[in-house]
C-alpha cells in the first residue's frame, strides 16, 4: 500500500460509517463469477527495486547523447534543451494540475497556455493558435477536419504533397476513413513535381492542399505563388512547418497560408522515443470557431484584474457532443508549457542562433559529403536536413555506420521504393564538426569497399 495513506484503524472506522463489514462487501454489484480475478503479474517491487529495473531497461538502449552519434531526423530532432526547461516542468503546481476548468485557481496554467498561443502565433505569423494538439501528424489531420467543415462537406478532396512526412499522410488517411473524403497527390511519380506544378491538381472539389516547410526531404520552397494559385481555385492551404526553421525563414503566415501546423518537439522537448511531443495548430481569425482543441482567452476577474479562461467552449465536445468539430479533450498542456519556457529563454536571439547553427552545420556536412566519391547531395535550398544519394542501399550504408557508433540518415527506401539508395541526413547544433568529419570518413570507407 505504498501510496495509500489510510491506516487499518481508519479503514475500519470508515467501513463502519459506510455500513459494510469489509472492503470486499463494497463490490456486490459485480457479477460473482468474474469478481476478484487473480491477476498474473509480477509481485510488487519496492522503489529501490523499481529504480534498478527501470535503469536496466534504460541502459539496454543506446542513446544519441552518450552512446551513439546521430544524423537522424525525419520529424523528430536532437536539439539542446536548456536546464531551465525541465526545472519549470518539474514544478508540481504545473505537472500535477488538471485541465484548467476552475480559472480562479488555475491562472498559472491558463496564462502559460495564453503565452504559448502568443509565441506560436509570433513564430508562424498567424493570427491565432490553439492550446496544442497531440502531435504534428494529428494536428495535420485536424486541419483536414477544419477545411472539411469550412466547406460544409461540399468539397471532398484533400491534396497532400508527396513530400509531406509519410507518417503524417498515414494519420490523415486513418482519421478521414469515415468521412468519404478523397486524398490525392502523394503518388511516388509526383515526387519530382515543383510546388506550382503540383498545385495544378487542385480542382473545384478540393478543400485543402497540404505542403510541408521545409518539406520531408528538407527542401525550402517559397509557397507564396502556390498559395495564390490554390486560393484562386477556392481551396485552403495548410503548411506543416518545422518551428526551428521558422526562426530563420519567412513565415507561412506571410506567404498567405490559411492553417499552419507542426510538431513542437524541436522547441525544447526531449525525443523520448517519439513522445509525448506537442502539435501546434494556428490559423486565421475568421476560422477560429471551427478550430479543434482548447483555446485560452484574456478577460478580467471580478476584481478587475487581467486574467485568463478557457473560451469558445461551445465548439467542444462537452457542449456540442456529436456536433462538435473534434473530440479533443486532453491536449499537451505541459509540453506546450515546455516549449513556451524554451522560447522564452532562448528568445529572439537564441532561437535564431540555434537555427543558424543547424543551417551552417548541415550545409558544411552536405558540401563535404558531396565531395565523397559515389555520394551526391540533391540541389536546392535546404535548412538542416538533406537527401544524400549513396552508392548502395541506404540500409547497407546505415548498418556499416552503426558499427562505427553512428546512426545514419533516415532510409527513404522504406517509404519510397524508388529511393532505396537515398537517405535523409539531419544535422543540428548538437553535431560537432568532428562528428560530421567522422561521418564523412566512415562513408568514404564504404565507397572504397
Amino acid at each position: 500500500m505504498t501510496y495509500i495513506p489510510i491506516s487499518p484503524k481508519e479503514r475500519d472506522a470508515m467501513l463502519e460509517t459506510v455500513g459494510v463489514k469489509s472492503l470486499d462487501d463494497l463490490f456486490d454489484a459485480i457479477p460473482v463469477k468474474h469478481r476478484f480475478p487473480k491477476l498474473n503479474l509480477p509481485a510488487a517491487l519496492t522503489e529501490m527495486e523499481a529504480m534498478d529495473e527501470l535503469s536496466g531497461l534504460a541502459n539496454a538502449n543506446e542513446n544519441v547523447r552518450s552512446d551513439l552519434v546521430s544524423f537522424l531526423g525525419a520529424g523528430m530532432y536532437n536539439h539542446y534543451i536548456p536546464s531551465v526547461v525541465d526545472h519549470m516542468l518539474r514544478r508540481g503546481e504545473f505537472y500535477t494540475a488538471y485541465t484548467p476548468y476552475q480559472p480562479e485557481i488555475s491562472q498559472g496554467t491558463l496564462q502559460a497556455i495564453f503565452e504559448y498561443q502568443s509565441l506560436m502565433s509570433a513564430l508562424t505569423g498567424m493570427d491565432v493558435s490553439n492550446a496544442s494538439h497531440y502531435d504534428g501528424a494529428t494536428a495535420t489531420a485536424e486541419a483536414v477536419n477544419l477545411a472539411f467543415a469550412q466547406y460544409r462537406g461540399k468539397r471532398r478532396k484533400v491534396l497532400m504533397s508527396p513530400s509531406l512526412h509519410p507518417q503524417y499522410r498515414e494519420v490523415v488517411r486513418t482519421y478521414t476513413q469515415g468521412m468519404e473524403l478523397e486524398s490525392a497527390g502523394d503518388a511516388e511519380s509526383d515526387l519530382e513535381l515543383s510546388p506550382e506544378a503540383f498545385a495544378s491538381q487542385v480542382d473545384d472539389n478540393t478543400c485543402l492542399v497540404i505542403v510541408q516547410y521545409p518539406d520531408f526531404f528538407g527542401r525550402v520552397y517559397d509557397y507564396t505563388k502556390l498559395i495564390e494559385d490554390v486560393h484562386a481555385k477556392g481551396a485552403l492551404v495548410c503548411v506543416v512547418a518545422n518551428p526551428t526553421a521558422l526562426a530563420m525563414f519567412k513565415t507561412p503566415g506571410s506567404m498567405g497560408a490559411d492553417i499552419v501546423v507542426g510538431d513542437g518537439q524541436p522547441l525544447g522537448i526531449p525525443m523520448w522515443y517519439g513522445g509525448p511531443s506537442v502539435g501546434f495548430f494556428t490559423t486565421r481569425k475568421n476560422m477560429v470557431h471551427k478550430m479543434a482543441g482548447r483555446l485560452v482567452g484574456e478577460t478580467i476577474d471580478s476584481r478587475g484584474q487581467r486574467a485568463y479562461v478557457l473560451t469558445l467552449t461551445a465548439r467542444e465536445q462537452h457542449i456540442k457532443r456529436e456536433r462538435a468539430t473534434s473530440n479533443i479533450c486532453t491536449n499537451q498542456g505541459l509540453i506546450a508549457l515546455g516549449t513556451a519556457v524554451y522560447l522564452s529563454v532562448l528568445g529572439k536571439k537564441g532561437l535564431r542562433q540555434v537555427a543558424e547553427l543547424c543551417y551552417q552545420k548541415a550545409h558544411y556536412a552536405a558540401r563535404e559529403l558531396n565531395k565523397v566519391k559515389g555520394y551526391k547531395v540533391s540541389d536546392g535550398t535546404f535548412f538542416h536536413e538533406f537527401v544524400l544519394e549513396c552508392p548502395a542501399p541506404a540500409s547497407e550504408i546505415n548498418a556499416h555506420l552503426l558499427e562505427h557508433g553512428i546512426i545514419g540518415g533516415y532510409d527513404l527506401g522504406q517509404d519510397f521504393p524508388s529511393l532505396a539508395n537515398q537517405m535523409l541526413i539531419a544535422v543540428t547544433e548538437m553535431n560537432t564538426k568532428q562528428e560530421i568529419d567522422t561521418l564523412i570518413e566512415v562513408l568514404s570507407e564504404v565507397d572504397h569497399g
Binding site: I6, H34, R35, K38, N78, T99, Q111, S302, G333, G347
Partner: protein, 505 residues
Amino acid sequence: MANASTTSSPSAKIVEPTIFDLSSPGRTGVTMPASDVPETALPPEALLRPDLPLPELAEVDVVRHYMHLSSFNYSVDSGFYPLGSCTMKYNPKINEDTCRLPGFLFTHPLQPIETVQGNLALMFQLQEWLKEISGFAGVTLQPAAGAHGEFTGVLIMRAYHKSRGDDKRKKMLIPDAAHGTNPASVGMMGMTVVTIPSDERGNVDLKALEAACDDTVVGMMLTNPNTLGLFDEHIEKVIELVHGCGGLMYGDGANLNALLGIVRPGDLGFDVMHFNLHKTFAVPHGGGGPGSGPVGVAAHLADFLPEPLVGIVEEGEDDTPPLYGFIKPAKTIGRMKAFHGHFGGGFVRSFTYIAMHGPDGLKDISQYAVLNANYLQARLRGTYKVPYDRICMHEFVAEGRFEGSDVRALDIAKRLMDYNFHPPTNYFPLIVHEALMIEPTETENKDTLDAFADALIKIAEEAKSQPELLHNAPSTTRFGRMDEVKAARELVLCCWLPENYDVNA
C-alpha cells in the same frame, strides 16, 4: 518591446505581466556555442524572415515569471483535488525520475530496433500487463489520450463491420450519462448517436436499450462504472442485448480506477476499451495533458489495431533475450499518430507504477478508491441529495442545490476554494440537476476526507444563512470570478499583435 500592451481595460491591475511584457531588447537567456564549421552564405534574402518577434529575457527573468505563474495554480501536490471522472490521484515522485533516465530521454523513434531493446521490452511488457489487467487479447499503446483512444476504438468497430461486408451499421448507442467525448468521437466518423436513457437506479434502461437494438447498430459505448459512479447492475444483460443484434461493446476506460483486481472488462464481454494511463496509472496530467490512451481489444478485433504494435520478432534462447520489434496487424486501421505513442510521458511512468504495485497492490488501489468515495458519500448523505443513493464505486454525484435557496452547484464549487479545496466536477453528468461529481481517489487519508466533508456541510449551512458568501466566492483566492462572456465576445487569444510590434525595437 514597444507598445506590446494588451487590450484589457486601462484600470486593470496587472497581476503577472506576460512574457512579452517582460521583454527588453538585447537580453538573452541562453548563449549557444559559436559555429565550429566553415561558413556557408545564408539563403537569398527573399526567403528569410525580416525579424523574429520573440521576447528577450535573461534566465532569471524567465524562472521568476514561471515560478510566479506556478504559484497561481492549485495542484494535487498542493491539495485535495476530487475532480470527478478525472482521477486526480497522487503521482509518485519516482516516476518523474524513471521517465527522465537518459536512456529513455535521448532515444530517437526511428533508431534501429537493435539499439532500443530496452524501450521495446518496456512497451512489450506494458502491453502484456494491460492485457492481463483488463482481460483483453490485444493492446495498442499508440493513442495519445483517452478521446484519441475512443476514436481509435470506433475506427476499429467500423473496420470490423466493414470487413464482414456489413455496411449498413451507422448507429452508435450511447447512454445519456456518457462523457461528451463519446458522441464527439462518433460524430467525427459520420455515424449517428442514439441516446439511451438511464433507469431510476442509474443503470442503462434495458427496455430502451432493447428497443434500440437492431441490425443498424455499430455498437454501444458504455462507461462502467458510469459517470454517476455506479456499476451497472445488469451489465451482463446489457452486453447480451448489444451482442445479440450484432453490435460491439465499447468500454470507456475513464473509470477503470474502480476495477483493478475487481473485475476485468474483457471477462464481462466488452470487445474494446481504452485505458487512461494518466488517470488509472498515475501519469500526472500536466494542466491538460499529455495523456495516454492505449486501447485493448478482444481476439476478434486484434487484427484491426493501429500499427505498429511491439512484438517479438526473433525468439530468444537460453542465454539470449528475444529481439523485440514492430509488427503490423493484418487488417490495421492505420496509424493514429506519428511514431509510437507517449513513451516517456506515459509508458515509463505507468510501467513503474504497475511494477511497484503488483496484483495485490492494484486491487488495493481500487478498493481504497471505492472506500473513500463511499465514506464521503456517507458523510454527506442527509446534507446533500444523492439522486442515485446506493453503494457507489470510486466516485458519486450529489446535487448542489437546496430547497428555497438560489445557490447553485457553481457557487458551492467556488466557495470550496475558500476552504482551500479544488472543487468537484460540476454540471456533469448532464442528467443530474446541479451536479457535483466527487472522486476522492485512494491517495487521500481520512483526515482530508473529513475536512472536505466538514467544509461541504458548512457550505450547505452558509447557503441557507449567508447565500451572498457563496455568490461572491471565491473571496480568499488570488483571483475572483471570471468574466467569461467578455472572453468570448472580445476574443483576445494572443498578447502579440503584429500591429503592436515595433520591428525596429
